[in-house]
Symmetry: C2
Subunit: 331 residues, 2 copies
């Protein structure tokens, strides 16, 4: 019926069309924007976490399931340049979940909520026969008119990404595997990767910095993978981009060519890093810090007029960069 | 772990405690209240609809599944005296759902949304192996400080309920049964009951009327059944109540004593009617209309100081009224 997400979102937008004085931005960006208290807009975002889609009972501790369920919408609020304020938690928990599981799941949510100053103001809970399902809604706030959309990139804008990409995907792949007998370097990388997957850190401070300083022309979080989210940003802005392979902050898997290729693949297409991908007008590029609160900010490419994505290899040769991250309609 | 809903809500409230200038009311009422645009508060509510808990693929048409999924939070916004404005729809739809099912489900949501002036501003969708799960969040608005809580009832207040109770429960029981050969009267009642179950009408106008006229001291929607929701209202207010059996607007099942008893049971404990249950100070009771836009408003009882619920029979004899409606932790 819907062949991909873009088609579905377009259909949903057509169905939901309508105007009111207080709606500023509807379906299609990281969050909706509605009028808030004087001088402020509210950001609204809902995100599902489903057993055997986003987590498994066997591999994910409940603390991580709760953490990740809240981290996802927190990252979307960050990707609008907002500060998260309130959350609503809908939880249908499987009868199979062991005793205490639900409390540790909530502990994961509440610990992250407190750290980000988010109040859980409502919820709905049920015990179900089937799989566990969590839906978390976060209400954020941003100075009026300062929400950063996906659609503001223009040709010549510089493309940046925070942190390291591909670690969370690597963490997912090695989750539950044994580490005995491996060299210390690999064990450390593995631990970092598992932690990146289980306890991602939404870039709330960076998002607010970009909005407060009016630095970013467009902003999205890397939840589906760089190649896919860059395509989302460029699609919304009606532009293309070129990115340099050797500038992409990939995990260090080893010094061989095969290892480097694998690392780049992870960084390009691995999902759930929840880093921020943003564009900056050329005249403001010198104001972008190389680090923000300990997180590296890497300039990885440039926006172009032609609506295509190019990956420039270490040898300088361009190749098409195809979105190969997570597609919500592919499964 | 949690033996009933009250215990769970108390635990959740303790976990979620915290203060901010813009939070007006947290967990425990029909909706949370946060600061809105100048002169307004926003109401936030999330409600889940789960396959084989709230609906079945065999008995509920997708149009009704969508309608009911939105009607539930709309009713909660009405139960705060608010006007619904925005909705977010999270949908995990089962792979087993037939072609076109998802479109008809959304049609059910959007048709009701348009009728109530609600804009769907965001959502999240996934295809899942297991059962279908829908979470709808509604953001409503109410004049600042005018949200009507469950906790405002005082001894002497009169108790009112809108519409007819027990019809939706009757509808659920007869759903899918054959009606051939039955008398016309029963067929008409059955059709009304099935319609009440499949397409409940949130009492948005009445809720806003009660808030606008400052008529109600406490307000809740009858989603879990009168006996249970009256207990919720009285518990939050720290009071008790007596209700008169012969004033309760039960469905007409026939003239026999057995039929009358069955009808009363349905009206007392049947859920999902989404009517409004509210209390009014004695001095304002003469201002409560007997009808509001065609819907009957019945005075069914009185708030008492003693924290117990009494049902006064037609013979004038009181009996304890035990909450026997839907308990989210009983299943």
């Amino acid at each position: 019926m819907f062949h991909d997400e873009t088609q579905f979102v377009a259909w949903l937008q057509a169905q939901a069309s309508g105007r009111a004085s207080t709606l500023r931005l509807g379906i299609g960006d990281d969050a909706a924007v509605v009028e808030g208290p004087p001088g402020w807009d509210y950001l609204l975002k809902t995100d599902m976490s489903i057993e055997d889609v986003h987590f498994t009972a066997a591999l994910h501790p409940p603390l991580a399931v709760g953490h990740r369920a809240l981290a996802r919408p927190l990252s979307d609020i960050a990707a609008m340049g907002g500060r998260p304020r309130f959350a609503l938690v809908a939880l249908a928990v499987s009868k199979r979940a062991p005793h205490g599981w639900i409390k540790r799941l909530y502990a994961g949510i509440f610990t992250l909520a407190r750290r980000f100053g988010v109040m859980v103001v409502g919820g709905d809970t049920a015990i179900v026969e089937g799989k566990t399902f969590i839906d978390v809604v976060v209400v954020g706030e941003v100075r009026r008119g300062r929400a950063i959309r996906r659609s503001g990139a223009r040709p010549g804008d510089q493309v940046y990404v925070s942190g390291r990409l591909g670690l969370a995907e690597l963490g997912l792949r090695v989750l539950g595997t044994q580490g005995g007998g491996q060299p210390g370097e690999w064990r450390r990388l593995k631990a970092a990767a598992v932690s990146a997957h289980l306890y991602p850190e939404p870039r709330s401070g960076l998002g607010r910095y970009l909005s407060g300083k009016r630095l970013a022309s467009a902003l999205i979080d890397v939840s589906d993978g760089l190649s896919t989210d860059l395509a989302h940003l460029c699609g919304a802005s009606g532009v293309g981009a070129r990115v340099w392979a050797d500038r992409i902050p990939a995990p260090t898997l080893g010094s061989t060519r095969v290892a480097a290729t694998q690392a780049l693949e992870l960084a390009l297409h691995g999902g759930e890093d929840y880093e921020l991908l943003f564009t900056v007008r050329p005249g403001k590029a010198n104001r972008v810090p190389s680090r923000f609160r300990g997180i590296r900010i890497n300039r990885i490419g440039e926006i172009e007029k032609t609506r295509r994505l190019l990956l420039i290899g270490a040898d300088g040769k361009p190749a098409p960069l195809r979105p190969a991250g997570y597609d919500h309609f592919r499964k």
